[in-house]
Structure formats: structure tokens, C-alpha cells
Amino acid sequence: MTPAPIHLAGERLMLDPEGALFWPAQRLLAVADLHLEKGSAAAARGALLPPWDTRATLDRLAALLRRWQPETLVALGDSFHDAGGSARLAPADRARLRAMAAAHRVVWVLGNHDPTPPEGIDGAAVDELRLGRLRFCHQARPGPAAGELCGHHHPKARVEVRGASVSRPCFVCDGRRLMLPALGAYTGGLDVRDAAIAALFPRGGRVFLLGRERLFSFPYAARRAA
């Protein structure tokens, strides 16, 4: 596993190929868009999806915590798929999440899917977190944003090679703003070419596609005039 170092607002950060960010100076791990209990939310609407999505997402989170041994865990919003999500956790999943929250300083940045703090899970709930020169929020604010880390859009990118094409979740970064991919097992992606993401990176930048053991970096072209 090879993380990729990048610099944002003068801070050195590590991008993890699993889709998380580690800030060594603060021993802080950030993840975005866990969308826990998305499966059970779908079930309520009549789509009985395999019920292991929360477990699968927690598996990924647990591996990240083991790897980086952070003091602080920041979840960049939409940690639960809806406001009732935390109440629907299966007992085993709840116990696991509580243990993780008890062992770390946890900051729940609130998102549009989970506007209220999770019930019965430790941690501080905030609209955004400022730490040194960095600002952790769920949804990017339009306009220049030195040192902003955000989630919300679930960025993914497609790369073509000799007629074949590969689409993967990705980080997007222009040196000022860093957008994290979604970590949740049932979270789909929005192509970085979509206007909603492109508008946040008017001067382009780089994308980092998640690979099995490493990241694959490509230039992210500035938006073409449409």
C-alpha cells in the first residue's frame, strides 16, 4: 500500500488509496460520505438490498484506523444515509462503531443527509471544523477556498487506455481545495466532468484514482467552455 503525499495550504497530507486522508502533523484521519445504513433506507422504499453495507463500510474504516493509528477521526458529513440511520444500526455494527468512537477523538461534520448528530455514538458534531490552516466541511463553498477539505459530491473519474476504460472513485485537488471520494459501500459516484464538480475547480488540477494498492494520478483539465 503506497499513500501519496500532497500539499494543501502549506500542510503536508497523505492520500490513502482506500479513499481517506491522513494529516501526520495532527495525527488526523478524514473520511467522507460513509452513508451508513443506506441499505436499510432503500429497504424502506421497497428495494431489499443486501444488508451488509454498513458492515462493509465499517470494515474499510477499521482497516484505515489500524493503518494510520490516528488520534482524531473526522467524518466529513453524510456519515449516515438519513437522520434515522444511527437508530437503525444492527447491534453488532453499533457496538463496533461505538468502540471506534470511544478509542478516538471523533468529529462528526454534519451533512445534508445527516443534519443531526448520530444518536448514542460518541463524538463532537459540528457544521465545520477549522484546524490550523485547514477547514473541514461537508459541501464545498463556491469560490476560492485555500485549505478546504470537502466531500459531498462522491467524485469519480474515467480514464481510457487503448479502447478500454476504467472508472474509479477519486480525490480531486487544485492545491487549494481537496475533495474526498465517498467511502460508503453503496455510494455511487459523480463524474468529475460534471458541472457541479467542475465549477469548484475552474482552473483544473489533478485527480487521484483509487487503485488496489496505490493511487493513479492524472491532470484534471480546466472546464472547457460549453
Binding site: 438490498l49 487506455v161 479502447g163 478500454a164 453503496y186 459523480l190 457541479a196
Partner: protein, 826 residues
């Protein structure tokens, strides 16, 4: 007995018709209450034969309510048959009511039909599946006396056919006395088709009636003037000759193999069409209105030619068609005969058809198809067992109509031939899936879709679940499609796949609906375009556009190659090509596998002449390169055609026989299947049909992202936590025959065991040239999987400093291949 009663005898006489032997036989069977499979060529009067007993019965005993149900795979066919039936009914003043019902039928009309069903109802499998989910289904179908199933050969063995078979089993329970009449073209496998028609799923409980065979078709071949192309599948090279053929006949259907080919050939013909002969285009993605206009113009004799895909394969009698052209490989004898039958829709006259091969391998395939047609050697595998995804849809549909007992439903389902061998375990797992997802982890208690009452009868839990289900009925899963419109308020032209629209930039030019269009903008679910445009035009491709060559045809091609005595009939360039091959290498034998290896540039090439069709070769290529990796040959990629598989590597491949051992399907297969994008696509279809995920409405990507969950993500989670889940079992069963064609690979590996002929060459052989020309045109995958591809792309980006992520598009895009003018850069 079985002479025509009045007024039918009089009407037949007035038309100058005689009762044909097979029509008489069908009437006799109907009198006895027996079910029938009528096998007849097109134009044999078989549809009338199917309805005659019903009309006679209704004339003698007029009554209200449903008497005969007619099911056809094509909406248009149902409408056409309804019109044809009205003629005798009106001429003889019979008190018979007729109505059609399809997705296009207005809601008010549908309500009327439910309140007062017509005597004859003409419909499609999907509309029938929907009808039987209604609470009034039992009352509506109780008086049913007969069921006519048209084009049985096109339905049996497909998922639409599975769905129809299950609906028919339901009808057999609601109306036990209803007899069935299956109408079919000539087929290779008669017994499975008879079983399909049988009310109890047993072939011997059906009378099989053969109509008199029609006149044998006359099939010729047309080659382009000048060079015979080495590669390419579009046949654009032959456009001048095709145009001359069109000019020489009254009305021609020019059949092609893909929608992209139809668009390109249409453009090419019009470039040359100085005489402005009226030539139209017809394919499944065009707006129905546009298609109907073309069909009406054909029927009225206002056209000289139509460039068409399989959208014109079936059904309706166009009358005036006197010539059929097939441009590109015919792919199978049955398919060719079906297409040829579109000309001269009268069985006593020979149909005239001309094959136009696009390259020299296709010359062999055309030759094989002509011989196969003359020998009446039809192809097609025996129908596979019914899909468990379709069964899941059916089970919920049955519950929507009325509560059922699982034991009774299991017995009923097994009377449908595709499900005759269904195990109780599979049935119970399907039922469990419908009820609560069927997961090993009990969850969702509050969201079960079914519940059981005190008598163990199974009910649907809420009316909302039933409503939701009725909106998702059907077995055709399409890629998300977007409408193409001329300007914001302009005419709709048809539909393209979402991925194609996503790769367009304003100002881009593309060819669609026979026009050159300029892309303006994407607005929600509409692609807005203007006429005209400049620059290189793109052509939309559609998933699953190409079908592989059949086993039967492949055998013939192999046989012809092995038998030099048969080469005399080939065009001179083909003879020369084969003789050169014999001189520098050898020819593939009938029962062996020829594998050539040779160096070229800094690579080693391995070319295997398998002749098992594109899908099988794609799968084989993935497995083979994995194995080459393990053997240390450092494979770099491969390309597959219908005939040949070519792989290239950094090191010379050796020990070829071991490379092709049957255990390739063991460990390699499991590992590969798990990651395979083909399996993911198959799973998506299964999940949609089974009702796990809803059909995708196109557009509005962002809101959809929040509502629907990508089937790939579901697949990953399910595979990890419950690998034997019933939907994964259904996926593997589908993949074995469908996109991966594992069955064909297994049969080939068994056949060639100990018979691999390895030729070590110093340079490319003549027979290998066409496949090498495909490199770069066709999707070429590195064996290392997606990460290796990314690695390569990242390297290129680093070196060139320029490569940005591609515009959103998918790998399915098959670039239009240019006819093989190209020189091989040797």
C-alpha cells in the same frame, strides 16, 4: 370432417383460396381439444391457420368474453394481425370483437378491455405478464378457449420466452380447458419447442404439424470490385454494388448487423445515390413514429430500399419486397433464412437474396451459410433452462393477483417447459428472495414484501408493493437511453445510450437516424441537436449490438478450410490467400486447434484459430492471458474476432498444449469471473429483472445517484457476504451461455485435447493478417486487469504531460471500423 363450414367456405372461395393441408390439420386438432405446434415457412398462411378454429367456433356460438388470446413478440405484429383478422370478420359479418393490448394502448382503452374483454385479444408477453398480476385476471381468463403463440422460435430460450411460459402456466391454472397453438418457423430443435407449447411442458402432448415446405431460396454472393478487404465489418466498400442491386429490383431490404452499421451504410449509399432512389433507414433506436412512417412507405410501395437491422427480422408481411441483401457476416443459417424469408412473402415462389461479405473471412462464412441453407441445416442451441430472475418477477406478480400456496405454485411453474427441471431448493430460494431478499443475515423484518396467513397462503404485503411491481414488469433491460430531439421543441428522432450522449461536446457531429447532426446541449433527458455539422462524425454504438457466429456455421467454415477440394468455388483472392497459408503454415483442421506463434516488432504473437464466436473468444482471451502471465510469458494484450483469438506477449509462448488444457476453466475461471465486467453486467440485468433494483430512468444523474444504488456495489457486497445467493447463482447460469459463452469454450477445450497443432513461424501468416488488423480497432485489454490499465495510462500521462481523464464514456463504444483498405505495417 374438418371441411370449412359456412360462411367460411364461401369466403375462402371468394378469395380464390383453398384450405391448405396444415390448416385442415390444425382444425382437426382444435376439434379434439389438442394443442398444436405448427411449423411453417413465412407466408404459409399459418397465422390464419391459427385463428381459423377460433373464428369458426365464435361464428357458430357467438358469446361475450375472452375466447382466444394471441401473443406475439412484436407489438407491431399484433396490430397487423388485428387488421388482417378484421377483413374476414367484416366480410362474413361475424359477431367477433377484436382488440390489441400493448404498452402503447391508452389507459382508457385498457380499462375498457378489463371491464368487457374482447373475444380475441392480441398482445405481447410483457402485457400478458402485467394482465395476470391484476386481481380480475381469474375472472377475465376463465372463459379462455384458445391461445395462439406466434413466432415461438423467437421466444423460446429467451428471457421473454421464460416470462411468457410462466404466464401461460398461470393461464393453464385459470383456464384449464384452453388449447394452445404455437406458430413457428422451421427450427433445429423441434421437441423443446413442442414442450414449450404444451400445457404440461411435455413435448409428446402436442401435435406437431408441418406445413408444406416453401420453394428453396436462391442465395448469391456479391463481392466489391477491386480488392477484397482483409478486415472490417461494415461492408461500406461494396456500397456501389449494393446501390446497383437496389436499382435493379423493385424493393430491397438491406439487412445489416448493427445499428451503427445501418447508419454508416445509409450515409454511404446516399453519397452515391445520384438517381435519388428512395432509400430509408430502420432500426430499433429510431423514434417509433419514424419507423412507422418507413413501414407505411414500404407497404405503399413508395420505397426502393430500406437499410435495416433485426428490427425488420420478424413478422409483418410487406408484400412488395422482392430482394434481400445481407451486408456483413450472416452469423447463422437460421437467422439468414429468417431474413431471406422477408423477400417474396409467398411460399410458392423462391426468395431471392444476396450476401455481401465485408472481408475475406466473411466470404468463407457467407459460403458456409449458403451451403448450410441449401442443406436445411439450421442452427441454434437447445433452449437453456428458465432464468431464476424471471421466476422471481413472476412469483411476486402471482401474489399481486391473489394469494397462493407455495406447493401449488411450484407444481404449476414446473408445468412450464423452461422450468420443468426446477428444483424445490431453487424455487424456495426465489420465494425467499421475493419475500425478504433471501439474505443469510435476517434484516428488514418490517419491509417484507410477502406474508403468510394462517392457512400458509402467501399474500403481497401492501398494495404499494403491487403497484411498484407492476411498473417494473418485463425482461428487457436496456442501457439508460436519452431522446434525441431537433432543437428544444423539435421532432424526436430516437434514442441513444446515455454514455454516448455524455461523451459529446457541444459542436460535435454525429450520425443518427440517417442524418448528420450537430450536438447542441444535453438538457435533462434530452439530447438537443441541429441538422448539419462539420468535422469527423461519431456514430452511436449500442451495447450487445453484435451477435456471435453460431456453432453450426463455425463447423462449416472449419470444414471448408480443411477441405482444399472445396476451394474451387471461392473468389480468386480467397483461393490465393488460403493456398499461401497452406504453403507457409497450415490450415486449421476439422477437429484440431491450430495455434501459430511468431515474432513481430518487439513482441511475440499467438494466434489461435478457434472459430467459437466473439463472446467465447473474449472470455478465452482473458483466461489465456492470465495463464500466460503465470507461465511467465508477460502477456501484453489480446484481440478477439468471431474466428480467431490473438494474444501478444513480451516473451515467446511455449508449451502451447498445456496453455490450452481444460483446467483453464478451473482456478483461472473462478478468479477471473469474480472481477469480470461481463459478470457485473449480467448481474445488473438479473437484479433488474428479479426486482432487486428498479429500472433506471435516464438523466438527472445527481438525484438518481442518491436514490438508486449502483449494481456493481451491490454485487461486490453480496459476493463477499453470501456468494451462493440465488441471484448470484442466476448470474452465473446466465453468464455461462451469454456474454461469456463458457459452454462453447468448455466444449472446444474438450474437443481439442491432445490435438493442438502448434506452428512456430518466423513471421505473420496470411490467415493471421485479418486479426492483427483488428488490433487497435477493437477493445484490447491488458491481462493485468484494470489497475494495469491505469498504470499504463498514468505512465503515458506522465510522459506526455497531456492526457486528462477521458470525457465520460464507457468501454462499450465500438468505434466504426473502416473497411480494410489498410496496409499491414509489416
Amino acid at each position: 370432417m374438418s371441411d370449412l363450414p359456412d360462411p367460411f367456405a364461401g369466403w375462402f372461395a371468394a378469395q380464390g383460396w383453398q384450405l391448405r393441408a396444415h390448416q385442415r390439420a390444425v382444425m382437426a386438432a382444435a376439434q379434439a381439444g389438442d394443442s398444436v405446434l405448427l411449423i411453417a415457412p413465412t407466408g404459409g398462411g399459418k397465422t390464419l391457420g391459427g385463428f381459423l378454429p377460433s373464428l369458426i367456433d365464435l361464428a357458430a356460438h357467438p358469446r361475450a368474453g375472452l375466447h382466444t388470446l394471441y401473443v406475439s413478440p412484436l407489438k407491431a405484429l399484433a396490430a397487423d394481425i388485428a387488421r388482417n383478422l378484421l377483413r374476414p370478420v367484416e366480410a362474413m359479418r361475424l359477431a367477433v370483437s377484436i382488440a390489441t393490448r400493448s404498452g402503447d394502448t391508452p389507459a382508457a382503452e385498457r380499462r375498457r378491455q378489463r371491464a368487457a374483454p374482447p373475444n380475441l385479444l392480441l398482445t405481447t408477453p410483457e402485457s400478458l405478464a402485467l394482465l395476470i398480476t391484476l386481481p380480475e385476471a381469474a375472472a377475465m381468463f376463465a372463459p379462455l378457449a384458445a391461445i395462439v403463440i406466434d413466432e415461438v422460435h423467437a421466444l423460446a430460450g429467451s428471457k421473454r420466452g421464460d416470462q411468457l411460459a410462466l404466464a401461460l402456466a398461470r393461464l393453464a391454472a385459470l383456464a384449464p380447458a384452453a388449447r394452445r397453438i404455437g406458430l413457428s418457423a422451421t427450427v433445429a430443435h423441434r421437441a423443446p419447442l413442442a414442450a414449450y407449447v404444451a400445457p404440461d411442458g411435455r413435448a409428446d402432448s402436442v401435435r406437431v404439424i408441418d406445413a408444406e415446405p416453401g420453394a428453396a431460396p436462391q442465395i448469391g454472393m456479391l463481392l466489391p470490385r477491386g480488392r477484397l478487404p482483409w478486415a472490417g465489418h461494415m461492408g461500406l466498400f461494396s456500397a456501389p454494388e449494393i446501390l446497383r442491386c437496389i436499382a435493379a429490383a423493385a424493393m430491397t431490404i438491406v439487412f445489416v448487423n448493427t445499428r451503427a452499421q445501418a447508419e454508416l451504410l445509409f450515409q454511404e449509399l446516399w453519397k452515391l445515390n445520384a438517381a435519388t432512389l428512395p432509400i430509408a433507414i430502420h432500426h430499433g433506436s429510431l423514434e417509433p413514429e419514424q419507423r412507422h412512417k418507413v413501414e407505411a412507405a414500404m407497404a405503399a410501395g413508395r420505397l426502393r430500399a430500406v437499410v435495416a437491422t433485426s428490427s425488420l427480422d420478424l413478422g409483418i408481411d410487406w408484400g412488395g419486397v422482392d430482394q434481400v441483401l445481407q451486408v456483413g457476416a450472416p452469423k447463422g443459417v437460421s437467422r439468414l433464412l429468417q431474413r431471406v424469408g422477408r423477400a417474396n412473402h409467398r411460399m410458392d415462389e423462391a426468395s431471392r437474396a444476396i450476401l455481401v461479405p465485408a472481408n475475406r473471412f466473411e466470404v468463407l462464412e457467407c459460403e458456409a451459410a449458403i451451403l448450410g441453407a441449401a442443406a436445411g441445416e439450421l442452427d441454434g442451441e437447445a433452449p437453456r433452462p428458465g432464468g431464476l430472475d424471471v421466476l422471481a418477477q413472476h412469483v411476486l406478480g402471482v401474489a399481486c393477483a391473489a394469494p397462493f400456496l407455495p406447493d401449488a405454485l411450484f407444481a404449476e411453474v414446473r408445468r412450464a417447459a423452461p422450468y420443468a427441471a426446477l428444483t424445490r431448493r431453487d424455487f424456495d430460494d426465489v420465494l425467499g428472495f421475493v419475500q425478504d431478499g433471501g439474505y443469510a443475515l435476517a434484516a428488514y423484518e418490517r419491509h417484507h414484501k410477502l406474508f403468510r396467513d394462517a392457512e400458509a397462503r402467501v399474500h403481497v404485503r401492501t398494495e404499494r408493493i403491487a403497484r411498484q411491481h407492476r411498473m417494473n414488469i418485463g425482461t428487457i433491460v436496456e442501457e439508460p437511453l436519452l431522446k434525441v430531439r431537433l432543437g428544444p421543441r423539435g421532432a424526436a428522432l430516437g434514442e441513444v445510450e446515455e454514455y454516448f450522449a455524455n461523451m459529446l461536446t457541444p459542436g460535435d457531429t454525429f450520425i443518427f437516424a440517417g442524418r448528420l447532426l450537430r450536438f447542441l446541449r444535453l438538457r435533462e433527458t434530452t439530447v438537443e441537436v441541429a441538422e448539419g455539422g462539420a468535422g469527423e462524425a461519431k456514430v452511436p454504438a449500442y451495447a450487445g449490438g453484435r451477435m456471435p457466429m453460431t456453432t453450426n456455421l463455425a463447423d462449416r467454415v472449419r470444414g471448408m478450410l480443411a477441405d482444399a477440394a472445396s476451394w474451387g468455388g471461392f473468389p480468386a483472392p480467397v483461393q490465393e490467400w488460403l493456398m499461401m497459408q497452406r504453403a507457409v503454415s497450415r490450415l486449421p483442421g476439422r477437429g484440431d486447434l491450430l495455434v501459430e506463434t511468431f515474432p513481430r516488432g518487439d513482441r511475440w504473437y499467438l494466434v489461435a484459430y478457434c472459430f467459437e464466436g466473439r463472446n467465447a473468444h473474449q472470455t478465452l482471451g482473458l483466461l489465456l492471458t492470465r495463464r500466460m502471465e503465470r507461465f511467465g510469458f508477460a502477456p501484453l494484450g489480446f484481440v478477439a474476432t468471431d474466428y480467431v483469438l490473438a494474444a501478444w506477449s513480451a516473451h515467446p509462448p511455449t508449451d502451447i498444449a498445456r496453455l490450452f488444457e481444460a483446467d483453464m476453466l478451473g482456478d483461472d475461471l473462478e478468479a477471473w469471473l469474480a472481477e469480470s465486467s461481463m459478470l457485473r453486467r449480467t448481474f445488473r440485468n438479473v437484479a433488474v429483472i428479479a426486482g432487486l433494483i428498479e429500472r433506471q430512468a435516464p438523466g438527472a444523474e445527481k438525484s438518481r445517484r442518491q436514490v438508486t444504488v449502483n449494481s456493481d456495489l451491490i454485487y461486490d457486497v453480496l459476493r463477499r457476504h453470501q456468494p451462493d445467493h440465488v441471484l448470484l447463482r442466476a448470474t452465473r447460469a446466465d453468464a455461462a451461455g451469454g456474454l461469456t459463452d463458457l459452454g462453447r469454450i468448455a466444449a472446444m477445450l474438450a474437443r481439442i485435447k491432445g490435438r493442438v497443432r502448434h506452428m512456430v513461424l518466423s513471421r505473420v501468416s496470411p490467415l493471421a493478417v485479418p486479426v492483427l488488423l483488428e488490433i487497435g480497432r477493437e477493445s484490447v485489454r491488458n491481462s493485468g486487469g484494470d489497475d494495469a490499465l491505469l498504470e499504463e495510462a498514468a505512465l503515458v500521462a506522465e510522459a506526455m504531460g497531456e492526457v486528462a481523464p477521458a470525457p465520460r464514456r464507457s468501454p462499450r463504444q465500438a468505434l466504426p471500423d473502416v473497411p480494410g483498405q489498410g496496409r499491414l505495417p509489416l
